[in-house]
Subunit: 328 residues, 2 copies
């Protein structure tokens, strides 16, 4: 049986998987991205890690059918070049597809990491059996992807699904990393979860639990800390996710109105932080959209955890059809 | 040479076209919709008008290859049934495809009217040669459609492209006909153009021109009146379209972030009302979206005027492939 390799390059970690033609995982691994050392160094280390992974799994690394790469940034799907990468400083203009094809000696397919995540969830996760599938990822940044007919929807150059930079307001709201105000990402990125917890704990009638109060005061709180506090019933943390749930709900409603998907999946650390976030988002979204679209859609948490992206990268490689010479 | 028929059913008028296989218009006509008389009466009158149109154009009506129908409402693309139609009261659950196929004795293809409009503009209008193409229509209501690879993007059941019901705010803004607050339609429908002109003429430092002031005072102003005033330099009318241009710009930015289209086309009466609207919308949208997406996209007025929908319906008929028995 043949196999392919999947690689998910994030700002901090790079994950690897070897996937059989039956889509079963034959082996997996991870390494630090060490973004500051530049992309060429990562390609070399990833190639070595893949050889090691193959050996450990009884596979011949040189016989991989293709390598699929998901990477945190905007990838031009025509050229395979990274054109913007806020979480991989200095990596812009990295020719991802060419570099991996050369290092691995096999065809390479490249996508934005959220597109790969969407393909993973659509094929093996919460979107299995549904069509079309939309995914929104909530983490350090906010991204998204769309899968229709089992394939990633690209738009003109592979940038479709940038749900993080859709606006939730015309001229207000927090400043986004992109420079605009009121983007979905400005509300739902992990740093804003913490900022809102600080704001609400200063103003709220209810006080945060001692654990959350300590973490906030020490500047050590993360979206995960706030999520854990929400699960333990902390009133401030619950208020944070209730408020953000309304923003997420309007964002999801806009995705539904645009695409009429059968399922919208929320993934990433913030999405998993508290069930209250998705509960409020679901009721907000379904109340907003036209009834025939509301009747069509499910709103679900991601099912593959933090493996969705690397599994999607493996699927990308399995689906890769090399272009015939001269084809566009 | 074979031909097909296109029909565009609006709340007030129904337009007809006979289109040759080379996509040239062989004849056209229109009749009042008379929505209150119900859909069956319209089907009969449209069939008679098509026979008359064919005779006048030297065509044999019984040899039409197919009939394409665009209709103002949500159409389930699997069943061909109208599921919601705010501008055709009482027409819900009308089996559009079945009724037209029976009356015309040929296959029938049905779409939401904005989807048909998008196909018309993508194929013969401002989107010619571009892929993908997004259209937003601004009139009594606000609709939209998407064309990728020369085909209408349906989503799950044909409801994709409902840009009028995407939100521009989480919890504020004018009430939309759908019941929610802050929908794109609530800002950009023609009645809100007039409402905003009234509001700004009451508050503004500048006064409206005597013509516009009279029309507003008499309750006779329409989006067209305000548009004409803007073209003549009326300061209140210009302020109206400048303000609405920012809303339209954010709506278009959201469409670009979602789809990465090569072109976004604005059509309908309000879009044509004043060049200032589209100028402000264009600069607002391009300043908001991520630079690689801004570099990819043009924002253009519709090129086919009020014929985009009926031409799209004709194209729909020409592209119609009858399902083989047993196919889904």
């Amino acid at each position: 049986m043949g196999f392919a390799l999947g690689i998910d390059i994030g700002g901090t970690f790079t994950k690897l998987v070897a996937m059989g033609e039956d889509r079963r995982v034959l082996g997996e691994s991870r390494l630090p991205t060490e973004a500051a050392a530049g992309p060429a160094a990562l390609v070399d280390r990833a190639a070595a890690a893949c050889r090691q992974l193959c050996t450990a799994s009884g596979l011949d690394a040189s016989s991989a059918r293709a390598v699929g790469v998901g990477i945190a940034g905007l990838v031009n799907s025509t050229t395979g070049v990274l054109v913007a990468a806020p979480n991989l400083a200095g990596w812009e203009r990295f020719a991802v597809a060419d570099a991996f094809a050369a290092a691995f000696g096999c065809p390479a397919a490249v996508e934005n990491d959220a597109n790969a995540f969407a393909l993973g969830e659509a094929t093996l996760g919460a979107g299995r059996g549904c069509d079309p599938v939309a995914l929104i990822t909530l983490g350090t940044g906010v991204g998204g992807g769309l899968v229709a007919g089992g394939r990633i929807v690209h738009g003109r150059h592979g940038y479709a699904g940038e749900f993080g930079h859709m606006a939730l307001t015309v001229d207000q709201g927090p400043r986004c990393a992109c420079g605009a105000r009121g983007c979905v990402e400005a509300y739902l990125r992990s740093s804003h979860v913490v900022a809102l917890a600080l704001e609400l704990s200063a103003n709220a009638a209810d006080s945060p639990s001692p654990t959350l109060a300590r973490a906030l005061a020490a500047g050590e709180a993360t979206a995960r800390t706030v999520g854990e506090a929400a699960r333990e019933g902390d009133p401030v943390a619950l208020a944070v996710f209730r408020q953000l749930g309304r923003y997420l709900g309007v964002a999801i409603a806009n995705i539904i109105s645009a695409f009429n998907p059968q399922v919208v999946i929320a993934g990433g650390g913030v999405a998993l932080a508290g069930e209250v976030l998705l509960t409020v988002a679901r009721s907000t979204a379904l109340a907003r959209v036209l009834p025939p679209l509301a009747a069509d859609v499910s709103i679900l948490p991601a099912a593959l955890g933090d493996q969705g992206g690397v599994l999607g990268a493996g699927l990308l490689a399995l689906a890769h059809e090399p272009k015939s010479p001269g084809a566009g």
